[in-house]
Symmetry: C2
Subunit: 340 residues, 2 copies
């Protein structure tokens, strides 16, 4: 008997989905990317799904239900963006334990509806049931993309530029702050944490936004990324996915990793390594993508996109060049592992 933790999430998925048969010619791309690609019509259809469990993915002691609903929708919408697609429909399945009232579920659903309205996504179905084991949220998002233009993780080529939108590590530092306040407040009644000056990192943790704006910008600028994914498990982990699936290596520059002031201040206050937080923090839902070198000027003109490195040969491995330019630190997948 083998413990699941010995394989980890990706090891288990690889084992289960190894050598899957394909019976339908509408199945264009299956397991292994942010979403599956289905060839149903003039545009390709994208399908992605996420399972969120209380106590594993969220802690209701500090996450308001409306924010939770919003975020649950956003993480799925973000996966459609990560394929270069447009989100269109969503299904919502809920497992509800006895301590929740109708009003609680109204709140949760209001958050889901808000995200769907903001990002033009229709709720088209789902399932609702009792749960013995806390709140269960399973969301599937369906989107579309121009035929044969879905951006996979496997298309990065040597000399491509590595780009990331927004900034990294903020959601992780927001989580650290929330966890600290939870520990401090233990046993105290009506504890009111003071988040002044830290609103940004709290918001990045509790209410992330999918980068549909970046997908639109890329499309309007005529840039077709060679690979793309969203940063949900941390920059290091995602870069390793792209490099493994594209059979390439990479170099990123420590000094180019975009970090907000509040993120840095929080890391200092908590005496944590800032770069580690930015590399491995996760839940940023920014877009990580590669573009051909000849798109350099066009990418530079994009708002809120940063070139952080380049793709190299696979035999050179994946590493970060330190701020002083003196040494290279190998990238490791230390991101969130829900099966550990």
């Amino acid at each position: 008997m083998t413990e699941i933790s010995t394989l980890g999430e990706f090891g288990l998925i690889d084992r289960l989905t190894d050598d899957l048969p394909r019976a339908n010619n509408t199945t264009k791309y299956a397991v292994g990317d942010d979403a599956a690609v289905l060839g149903y019509g003039e545009r390709d259809v994208l399908v992605t799904t996420d399972l969120l469990l209380e106590g594993v993915h969220f802690d209701l002691t500090y996450v308001p239900l409306k924010h939770l609903g919003y975020k649950a929708a956003v993480v799925n919408i973000s996966d459609i963006c990560a394929m270069g697609g447009t989100p269109r429909q969503l299904t919502v399945s809920l497992g509800i334990s006895q301590r929740f009232t109708v009003e609680h579920i109204d709140e949760l659903y209001a958050g889901i509806r808000l995200a769907c309205e903001r990002y033009g996504t229709d709720i088209v179905g789902g399932d609702t049931t009792a749960s013995r084991q806390g709140l269960v949220i399973s969301i599937t998002c369906i989107g579309d993309v121009e035929k044969d233009k879905a951006i996979l993780r496997s298309g990065a080529r040597v000399n491509d530029l590595i780009c990331v939108s927004g900034n990294l590590g903020a959601a992780y530092m927001g989580l650290q702050l929330l966890e600290r306040e939870k520990a401090v407040s233990k046993g105290m009644k009506d504890f009111q944490p003071d988040f002044a000056g830290k609103e940004y990192i709290i918001e990045r943790q509790l209410k992330p936004e999918p980068r549909v704006d970046i997908v639109k910008e890329l499309r309007e600028a005529g840039i077709q990324p060679t690979s793309m994914m969203d940063v949900s498990d941390g920059l290091s982990s995602e870069l390793l996915h792209i490099c493994r699936q594209s059979k390439v290596g990479c170099r990123i520059y420590e000094e180019r990793i975009p970090i907000e002031y509040q993120t840095a201040a929080m890391a200092e206050e908590l005496n944590m390594n800032l770069v580690t937080a930015a590399l491995n923090g996760g839940e940023d839902y920014e877009l990580l993508f590669t573009v051909p070198l000849h798109d350099k000027d066009r990418v530079a003109a994009l708002r809120d996109v940063h070139v952080i490195g380049y793709i190299c040969d696979a035999d050179k491995g994946c590493a970060m060049i330190t701020r002083d330019g003196e040494s290279e630190i190998p990238l490791k997948a230390q991101g969130f592992n829900p099966l550990k």
Copy 2:
């Protein structure tokens, strides 16, 4: 604060999904049927999803993991059949608690793969995570159907014939048998239940099959049902759905409800009312549908399809005419309510 049990599953869904906005013209039919209908191409795309939770939907003391996986796939495939569609793709999300080993999950997944292979459905994605308590299975199935030919629940018309495939109540009587053996075996080591002569009802409970064959038969016979759904919550409950959504009433004949010998024998052994079991048992995954009266002869020629009644005006309500033809018993939705 309102307890969720006061609304029940359908009441809660109605409340949450009331007045949903629609932003995309690809959304043809959303919440309220066995699957959503999306207009992505030359054929319409169908999407359905089910959430199965340990302790609510299945009991691993008598359900083998491989059977559970098979059934979890089948209930979703059946929903695509219930729209007159063909299943094409499946996503599988699993929440796995610590007591499960890799080999356990292999078994579960083997069952899912077997059902997918048998019914020509490709596994294209999913999510895998830890669970704090018990096994969580969330499956989404995608299928397709000829454009504008998805069979909704809302199309039944007065004088249509009511048809059902196969037989009813067997899965429910199988469940009663398994529950009885579980109670008997409590505290006994290596208890071996004797299921001789009861294999059929056990199999109907543990390993149901979706009626893709009936969908195919209907298509080949040129019969387009006016309404259809699958019998997952019990014949009564499903008929009431069709009648409410079609704004009609119905009459079914007690003597015409198809029941297998083993189902009847088990009901007698357990001193249970057989017709109640057939009306309210659920989990049969047979197809319930209505056809225009002029298709009477063509339907009669179909293998394993039974005409059990007819559609009437809404103001006549929904009732079963008893075997003696003397009285009418109003149909009630006493099927499985996972939120009670």
